[in-house]
Symmetry: C4
Subunit: 236 residues, 4 copies
């Protein structure tokens, strides 16, 4: 069932340790089939080396497990919340990549200091507010994690800002495909590393100038984009 | 004799350089057979590339070498002290992994800033007091190293805090199995790296909120755990 | 057409991720045939793993594409501007290597603190002024990027300073050959890393003494050089 | 001629990039045959990937090239000076490893903060004074580099301190064999990294306590050593 979707999710999951974004079993990726309203996600706590495409668990948008014998990732409700709220996205990735997570732990957005960042984001990488004790303890912690992300995006377009830092936790990224969400996860980590070092050099460094932000983001996204062979694809 | 135990200890020892936790020959892992009261540990100063499972040295809980032709690790008395004091543990790992050791050298506990840390520890990663000149010089330095760890855990449960930093020295970790102790050693190093970077961003960053600490630790440990396929297994 | 030139450019491009200078598709290298006034450059947005020598795009010094079916790198006008202004260079490399880019984002030159730096540069690694809104938005952004570099070199010899940081952006390097430009890109990244750490140790560290700068640069460059087998070739 | 000596020097040289201590062609290792008063050293500016054992150049203690068709490393006079002054050493290694070089650039000794350091050094890793303009410019720069090292060791035993930082330059290490000098070079780099991070945590961190320094150094060196199988061999 949905063999190709499982394979996409599987490829994204095993890319995470290969790209240095993940240690041990922390992190997960999911891919959605919008026509069927079903997404494929990593099973919980399985070592990446042991994972197969068949292990991917299928979940529908109501949260019902429709295929797979293993428990899905404990973060599944967060993925589901994002797929419901951000209708244009096709994949979600969660990592604890070290530099991005350091910003998340400190509750700091990642300021936008250069064109590498502007190639992917139309401003700073946002951070959520802290979750309340009620949200953490009400039995739907992972769903509420999705809710604070969605709340943070009330006035933001997820296509302009394809990642968020969950306060005290770590980054989530997304994209038109799960492969794109992996690419953004790589970009977020290297953007975070460079922001940290630029701050070490200049603790009060101001953000990139608006014209340069606009230029770099728009040469890669939307009408008038001229980067790459097909008006997609950027980098870090 | 105890071939399987030696193999477990061997696998854990060779995992240490592979995981980037060890340079040269520094570090060691041991696994205990509680029924027989015997543990297997790395021989002293042997290069990891030359190590075989048969090289593992067997020591009983009185400190007597019961098998193996090579000298055991010079840190053997520390391992023995921990096996005696912490009766639920099945393995001990010692590394000089760079970020964790930087905290140990500074005599600083690793503060708990995020969920990655809370997935493994029920609070900050403790640091021992400094050892006295008498403890260092009395001819049982490595045993006394174990004693200051045990002293630090007078009011701590080693299952809630599966690692310690020995002041001026480096981390020791443990777990139900030696494989788990290796996993914790990986986690401690990445937790230390992220704590250092979060402190760079916010030198006065407060600890994680108690509800979030409780939630993350308890979803992976003890009754009510729901992470993984078998209520074990976390990550970083 | 110009098969050997394409191969040189190709080898330089694929060296960039191998040397750890590039993530994803960001960065590019070009090599020029001065006799024909044509340079070979990477196609835009193609993954390094998929690249072949035949994919290299040929561009003449007027900016006309003379061979290749794919679009050239979006940074092609910057390369062309440099080939026109710096007549002695045979190759150009652009990366977003993390430490060098951190200086570029902060708008800081890389100060010269040691002999590693002096082996490659006859002073600090220069940074351009920020680009104006007009230069960014006038439809020739990448050409104007070349212009601010050339402006910065009004009083500098590109042979004495084989790299620049574009403010808010990232480094460009060059050399007699594109292979040499790759070598300089490696050197710039490690020089930047060491400068950042030396600044952490001594925030007001002064530049290297003039005699030592002169000695190290001149033992590797120009008349009297005595390093290597052929009076070229340095390092980091 | 001296095939085995060349092989030892060769193995040490190619270990340097493999251990991450070297980029490009910077760095070199040499091994001496004390009976013959001849040492083998890397040829100048040759890429490590192209190096063979036969390429090693043989030099006698008067500085005369006695074998090999290539020029020796430009740092050969520094190696020779050290072999003449430190009669117990059998090998010398020079790297520009990044963390150690950052201390050298800042003119700072590496303070001794923990047992990893104490396993190798009987105190801080010394730094030379700056070289004078006369020493740099008198035509024997590399020999004078050796002289400032020897001057720094007027009151230090090179067996207790098997490395030095040349001010504004980078580390040199040595040992009873060139393989041991490589091991020390690895240790110096990781000690430097951890010292830098401990200083970030505690800018005024005092040195390790004398008893602990004595204990760790002496359990691995000299009479009464009990580490390893043969009273040699430590780590980081």
């Amino acid at each position: 069932m949905l063999t190709e979707l499982k394979r996409e999710a599987y490829e994204a999951n095993i890319a995470l340790p290969r790209e240095g974004l993940i240690n041990l079993t922390f992190g997960n990726a999911s891919a959605i089939d919008r026509a069927q309203g079903i997404f494929a996600i990593k099973p919980s706590g399985v070592a990446y080396a042991d994972l197969t495409a068949e292990d991917m668990v299928l979940i529908d948008l109501d949260g019902k497990q429709v295929d797979g014998s293993m428990r899905p990732s404990s973060d599944t409700p967060t993925h589901r919340r994002l797929f419901l709220a951000f209708e244009s996205i096709g994949g979600v990735v969660h990592t604890h990549s070290s530099h991005a997570t350091s910003f998340a732990q400190a509750g700091r957005e990642i300021p936008i200091f250069g064109t590498t960042h502007a190639d992917y984001f139309f401003g700073p990488i946002p951070v959520t507010r802290k979750m309340t004790a009620a949200e953490i303890g009400d039995g739907a912690y992972e769903w509420e994690t999705g809710n604070v992300i969605v709340e943070r995006f009330a006035a933001l377009d997820p296509a302009d800002f394809p990642a968020v830092l969950v306060n005290r936790h770590a980054p989530f990224t997304w994209g038109a495909t799960v492969a794109k969400a992996v690419e953004v996860a790589v970009a977020v980590e290297c953007i975070a590393q460079m922001a940290l070092m630029s701050l070490q050099l200049e603790p009060t460094l101001p953000a990139i100038e608006p014209e340069l932000l606009h230029k770099h983001f728009k040469r890669k996204h939307g009408p008038g984009a001229y980067y790459g062979q097909t008006d997609s694809g950027p980098t870090c």
